[in-house]
Symmetry: C4
Subunit: 224 residues, 4 copies
C-alpha cells in the first residue's frame, strides 16, 4: 500500500531531473557554441589573409581549451546526473551556480585570446582564465560531494563506484592551482596545462564503470 | 469503454506539454547564456588590463542579477509545469508572452551595465531594468493563477500545495514595485534588491513540498 | 506474427521524430532569443538615455512582430508534429528548408528596425521583411500539405480535424501577399498587419480540437 | 537470472545516449542559427538599401551552403545514433571532437562571405572553408566507422544496411578533396560544389532503409 501511494512521487522527481538535465544541456551547448563568435578576423586583413588567419592562433588555442573544458564539465555533469537517484532543492540551486560559471567561460576565453601576445597584460588574462576554470571545476566537485553526502545517488551504486568518481574529479583542482601559479611565470605553458587537465577529465571518466565491472566480474567468475 | 476511448487524448496533451517545456527550456538556457556576450573588455585595455577588468564590475553585477533572475524564473516555471496536468491553448499563448519578456531581459541588463556609473542616466537604466523584471515576474504569476483558475493543475494536488506556491510567487512582485521606486533615489541599492528577490525565489521554492510532506507524515504517524 | 515483427519499426521512426522535434525546438528557441541581440542602444546615448531608448521603438516593434511570428510558426509546427504518425525522408528535408527560413528571420527584422524611419529605404526593408515572412509561412503550409498527401498523419485523425488545420494555415498566406503590396505605400501599416497575422495564427490554432470535440460530444450526447 | 540482473544496465546506457543526442542537437541547432548573425548590412546603406542587400549575396550563399552542410551533418549524425545500440567512452569523446568542428563552421563561413569578392584573398578563404568542411565530414565518417568496428550498432541491423550507410558517407569526402583543389583555380565553383555535396548528403540518406526494406519485401513476397 505504501509503495502504491508513493510510486507517483519518484516519478515527479525524475521529471524535474529531466528538465534540470535539459536546461543544463542547453547552457552547455550554447556556451560551447558561442566560443566561436569571439574569434574575429579583422576586415582589413584582405592583403595578407592567410597570415592574419594564422596570427589568430591564440583564438584557436582558446577555442580548443575552452571547448575541451566545457566538454569535460559536461561529461562530468553527465556522469553525476547518471548516478543520481533524484535531486533536492539545494542540488538544483548549486547546479544553477555551477551553470553561472559555465556560461561565464566565454568571457575569460576572449580575454586570454585578445591579450596573450601582449607582454604587459598576458599574465593578468591567463590568471583570470585559470581562476575561472578552477571555480567551475570546484563547483562541479561540490555538486558531486553534495549529492553523495545527502544520499541523492542511486542506492544500487556501491561505495567503490562513488569513490572512483570522486578520485577522478579531485586531481584537476590541484592541477588548476599549480598551473595558476605557474602561469604567473610562463603564461602560455599554463594554458597548455589547462588543455591537458580538460583532456584528462574527458578521456577516462566514463571508462571507470565498465573497467570496474570487468574487474569485479573477473573476481566472481572462478566460482560460477 | 469511456476510459479506453479517452486514453490517447491525455497522452497527446502530455506530448504538447513536453514540447512546451523543451521550447521554454531552450529560451531560458539561451537568454541566460547570451548575458555574457554583453560584457565587453575594451581592446585598448592592454596597459591596465587588471584595472579595466575590475572596472567592469557593473557588467558582472548585471550578469549575476540577471542570471539569478532568469534562473529563478526557470525554477518557478519548472514548479508550475510540474504541478500541471495538461495545458490549454491560452496557457501556451501566455507562456509565449512570458518567454517574450524572458528573452528580452539581456537588453535592460546591458543598459544597466553600460549606464550605472553615469550620473545623468543611471536612474533611467535602473528603472527600465526594474520594470522589465517586474513584468516578467508578473507574467509568471499570471501563468500560475491561470493554471489554477482553469483547473489545469494535477487533480492529486491539495489546496495547501497550490496556495503555498501562490504565496511564494507573490512577495516578489511587491518587492519589485518598492525597489523600482527606491531605485529613483539609490539606483545601486535597487539592483542589490533585485538580486535579493531572485535569491528569495531561488532558495526555498522547491523545499515547499518535501517540508509539507514531512509535516503531514508527522501528523499521520501517531496512528500508524 | 506480422505485428510482432514490425513493432520495433514504428518505434524507430518515433525516435527520429523525437530528434526532429528537439532540433526544431532548438532552432526556434535560438532564433527567437537572438532577436534581442539586434537591439543596440548607442553608447553615446548617455545624456538623453530615456529618449534614446524611446527612439528605439522600431526595434521593439520588430522584436514583438518577429517574436510573435516565430512563436506562431512554432505553434503551427507543434500542431503538425502532434498530428504526425511518423516522418519520411522528404518531410525531414522539407523541415530543414523551413528551419533555414526560420533561422534567417533575425536578419530582415534587423533590416526593418534599422531602416523603418529612413524615407528612402523603408519600403525596401519592409518588403524584404514581408517576403521573408511569406516564404516561411508558405513552407510551414507545404510541410503540412505534404504530410497530409503522403498520409504521414495519424490514422485516428478524421478529415474534419485535418481540414480545420489546413483552413487555419491558409488565410495567413493571402494576408502576407496583400500586406506586402500595401507595404509599398504604407510601410508601417504592413508591419502592424504582420503582427496581426501572427496573433491570428497564435490565438485559435490549438482551440480547434477541443472545440471540435465538444461539438461532436454534444451531437452524440442525446443518444447516450 | 542474468537478464534480470543486467536489465537496468542497458537502460543507463540509453539514458546517456539520450543526453549525448540532446547535447549534440543543441550544438547543431545553435551553430546553424548563429550563421545569420554573421550577415551584416552596413548602417551606411541607407540610400541604396536594395543594392546593398543584393551585394551581400556571398553572405547568403555562405548561409545556404553552411546551413545545408550542418543540416546534412545533423541528418548523418541522426542516422548513426538511430543505428546505435549504445555508446562507449571513446564514442562520446569522438562525438565531442566532431562537435568541436561543427561549432567552428560559422567562422570559415564568415571568412568566405567577407573575402570571396576580393581577388587577393578569396582563394585562401575558400580553401580554409573547404578544409573545415572536409574535416567535419571526416569526423562524422570516423564516428560511424568506430561504431561499426566496436560493435556499438544495434544487433538487429544486417550488414547490408551498415554498408549502405558507409557507402553514403564516403563519396562526400572524395568530393571535398577534389573541390578544395578546384577551389584554388575557380573559388566560386568550389563553393557551389560544397552545396552540391551537402544536398547529396541530405537528399537520399534516409531513403536508404525504406527502399531496402521494400526491395527485400518484394523478394520475399512471391513465397508468402
Amino acid at each position: 500500500m505504501t509503495s502504491e501511494g508513493s510510486s507517483p512521487r519518484p516519478k515527479r522527481r525524475e521529471l524535474s531531473t529531466g528538465r534540470l538535465e535539459a536546461f543544463s544541456d542547453g547552457v552547455f551547448a550554447i556556451a560551447i557554441t558561442l566560443l566561436v563568435l569571439d574569434i574575429a578576423v579583422p576586415a582589413t586583413a584582405e592583403r595578407h589573409l592567410l597570415r592574419s588567419v594564422v596570427d589568430l592562433w591564440p583564438s584557436y588555442l582558446g577555442y580548443v581549451v575552452s571547448f575541451s573544458t566545457i566538454g569535460a564539465m559536461w561529461l562530468g555533469h553527465n556522469a553525476i546526473t547518471e548516478y543520481l537517484d533524484h535531486a533536492d532543492a539545494t542540488f538544483v540551486r548549486l547546479n544553477l551556480l555551477f551553470l553561472l560559471f559555465v556560461a561565464f567561460l566565454p568571457l575569460p576565453t576572449r580575454l586570454f585570446a585578445d591579450f596573450i601576445e601582449r607582454e604587459s597584460s598576458e599574465r593578468v588574462a591567463v590568471t583570470i582564465y585559470g581562476i575561472s576554470l578552477l571555480l567551475t571545476a570546484s563547483l562541479l566537485m561540490t555538486l558531486w560531494r553534495y549529492a553523495v553526502r545527502m544520499k541523492l545517488v542511486r542506492p544500487d551504486l556501491d561505495d567503490e563506484e562513488v569513490q572512483l568518481l570522486t578520485q577522478r574529479l579531485t586531481p584537476g583542482l590541484a592541477g588548476y592551482l599549480v598551473l595558476i601559479i605557474a602561469g604567473l611565470f610562463v603564461p602560455l605553458a599554463a594554458v597548455i596545462g589547462y588543455l591537458a587537465i580538460a583532456l584528462f577529465y574527458i578521456i577516462p571518466l566514463r571508462q571507470v564503470r565498465p573497467a570496474l565491472r570487468f574487474w569485479r566480474q573477473a573476481r566472481r567468475s572462478p566460482r560460477s
